[in-house]
């Protein structure tokens, strides 16, 4: 599974990092998110999906 945050859509709501702090990091300057690893570590797939569901802007892109 691959995951990324679309930087043009993310507005820094921070819910992804709240849901899955091992998968998403936030910019110090504006709180916008990025995926720490493009490849989701084994066993973390459901957390990645949950983070994507939680994103108010639907900025998280998952590909299986």
């Amino acid at each position: 599974m691959k995951v990324r945050v679309d930087p043009d859509i993310c507005q820094g709501h921070t819910l992804c990092a709240m849901t899955a702090p091992n998968l998403f990091a936030l910019s110090d300057e504006d709180g916008h998110a990025w995926a720490i690893n493009e490849d989701v570590p084994a066993g973390q797939e459901e957390l990645a999906r949950e983070a994507a569901r939680s994103c108010p802007e639907q900025a998280i892109v998952i590909s299986e």
Binding site: T14, L15, D28, D30, P56
Partner: protein
């Protein structure tokens, strides 16, 4: 239809009717019944029309469905927040419906929430490094200390008003600190910031509230002059010196508008969220006990759930800036519309049992901080303040009981879904330190000496309290 053909043959009138056909409602957002009948309205509108035409206050689109709100709110390419009070552009009316008459606004607009990009983006870029999650985390020791002192003022008596004695104070003092204003000035800004939201224009108290607001404006003008003469770190300094695409703010009125946006956003909203949540937890002691016991795992989901359920800032207005069709509605340039964050947060198509509070709710993509480029810039401050206050109450007065007879909600939810009073009793406890006044004086020294209000780009370390 025949009338339309007579009055406007083949023209705008007929087209206008067809755009609104099947979508007309009459909903007075400024009336007290909207607050008490909110759930009924939500259920009715979510069955359709999910984008309604509301024949009140001049007529405007009322976007209430979650998916529809998502589709509309993020279209900053065809929606405008502009409050063009000097009629220099297209004369748009900003984010309030009904809009206050331009000549009564005293030359002040609602900061960058009533601006469009790119100017709006320049402001946010200048202020984000003071308000990002990392920037806010530096303030946690200060937040803890203000909260400790506010509770200490009441802990021995066994009585507290959660609004007046806690939830008004903590966000206000922290906002002063973030701005780089004297912490003790929180009292100057406190009452007018809340009262101007909950006092209707016809209230006998309105003239007094207006006087307080004027005094607050005067103090702010003085503070801007002082900040120019003796620069101090903080949001005010960032606003005064903001790079707005090669120029600065046009005048002090623009600066006042931006500061008032941050004060309005920083004060009343977090107060509203905290008070409502403490009221709910008081009514559900088993859930209160559970939240306290499982704080580490429930803290974040409970915070987002209270945000969803109570939606402190209920919605925002926009003006359609280009003809466009979204979600089946043909919007026309100049149409006004209301983005109801509150309604979208109760949509059962997205939230199971939307009218229930579930502290462990997952997938909670609520719209309480707005959606799109205008997302609440202070959301991280709000969350930190809320969590700090609720945790301190759970720790220090776990058996509190609110007094429904003394509880007062704002009469309407026209701006903020807020509370004026939430009195409670609890088993008295011991003070842990000095009172509020002494604590604020001490914290002022800490803020100044450690230059805590610098942006994260300048100062990375957390505050150190000895």
């Amino acid at each position: 239809m025949s009338i339309d053909e007579t009055t406007a043959p083949g023209g705008v009138g007929q087209d206008d009717e067809s755009r609104k056909e099947g979508r007309r409602i009459v909903l007075d957002r400024h009336g007290p019944a909207y607050r008490t009948e909110f759930v009924d309205w939500a259920q009715r509108l979510h069955a359709g029309p999910r984008i309604a035409w509301n024949d009140t206050h001049g007529g405007y689109w009322f976007v209430n469905g979650n998916q529809e709100l998502f589709d509309v709110a993020r279209r900053s390419d065809c929606l405008s927040n502009d409050a063009d009070i000097s009629n220099r552009r297209r004369g748009y009316d900003g984010i309030n419906i009904p809009a206050p008459p331009k000549e009564q606004r005293g030359g002040v607009i609602g900061g960058f929430l009533e601006m469009d990009p790119p100017r709006q983006r320049y402001y946010r870029n200048a202020l984000n490094p003071y308000l990002s999650p990392a920037a806010v985390a530096r303030w946690q020791p200060v937040l803890d200390e203000i909260t400790r002192a506010a509770i200490d003022e009441k802990i021995e008596s066994g009585r507290i008003d959660f609004v007046e004695d806690l939830a008004n104070i903590v966000p206000a003092v922290l906002t002063m600190a973030l701005l780089g204003l004297p912490l003790e000035d929180w009292t100057v800004y406190n009452e007018p910031s809340h009262a101007s939201v909950y006092t209707p224009i016809h209230s006998p108290d309105y003239p007094r509230v207006r006087e307080l607001s004027m005094a607050m404006g005067m103090r702010l003008f003085e503070s801007i002059q002082q900040a120019r003469a003796n620069p101090r770190p903080g949001l005010l300094d960032a606003i005064i010196n903001a790079d707005l695409g090669g120029e600065g703010p046009e005048d002090d009125m623009e600066i006042v508008g931006v500061v008032m946006l941050l004060i309005g956003g920083g004060f009343d909203t977090t107060t509203a969220l905290t008070a409502h949540s403490l009221e709910w937890l008081g009514e559900h002691p088993d859930q209160r006990e559970r939240l306290h016991r499982e704080w580490e795992t429930l803290r974040d989901s409970a915070t987002e759930e209270f945000l969803r359920f109570y939606t402190p800032a209920q919605g925002d207005g926009r003006t359609v800036s280009d003809d466009v069709e979204i979600a089946g509605v043909r919007f026309r340039e100049g149409d006004r519309l209301w983005l109801s964050w509150a309604m979208a947060n109760r949509d059962e198509q997205v939230f199971e049992d939307p009218h229930e509070v579930k502290l462990d709710r997952t997938g909670n993509r609520h719209a309480s901080f707005g959606l799109g480029v205008h997302r609440c810039i202070g959301s991280n401050v709000a969350r930190a303040g809320f969590k700090t206050m609720v945790k301190a109450v759970l720790d220090r007065m776990p058996d509190y009981a609110c007094d429904p007879a003394g509880t007062v909600h704002y009469e309407t939810t026209q701006v903020i879904n807020g509370m004026r009073f939430l009195p409670a009793t609890f088993t008295p406890g011991k003070r842990l330190g000095p009172g509020l006044e002494e604590t604020i004086a001490t914290l002022q020294t800490v803020v100044d000496e450690q230059r805590l209000a610098e942006p994260i780009t300048v100062r990375k370390d957390r505050a150190t309290l000895t």
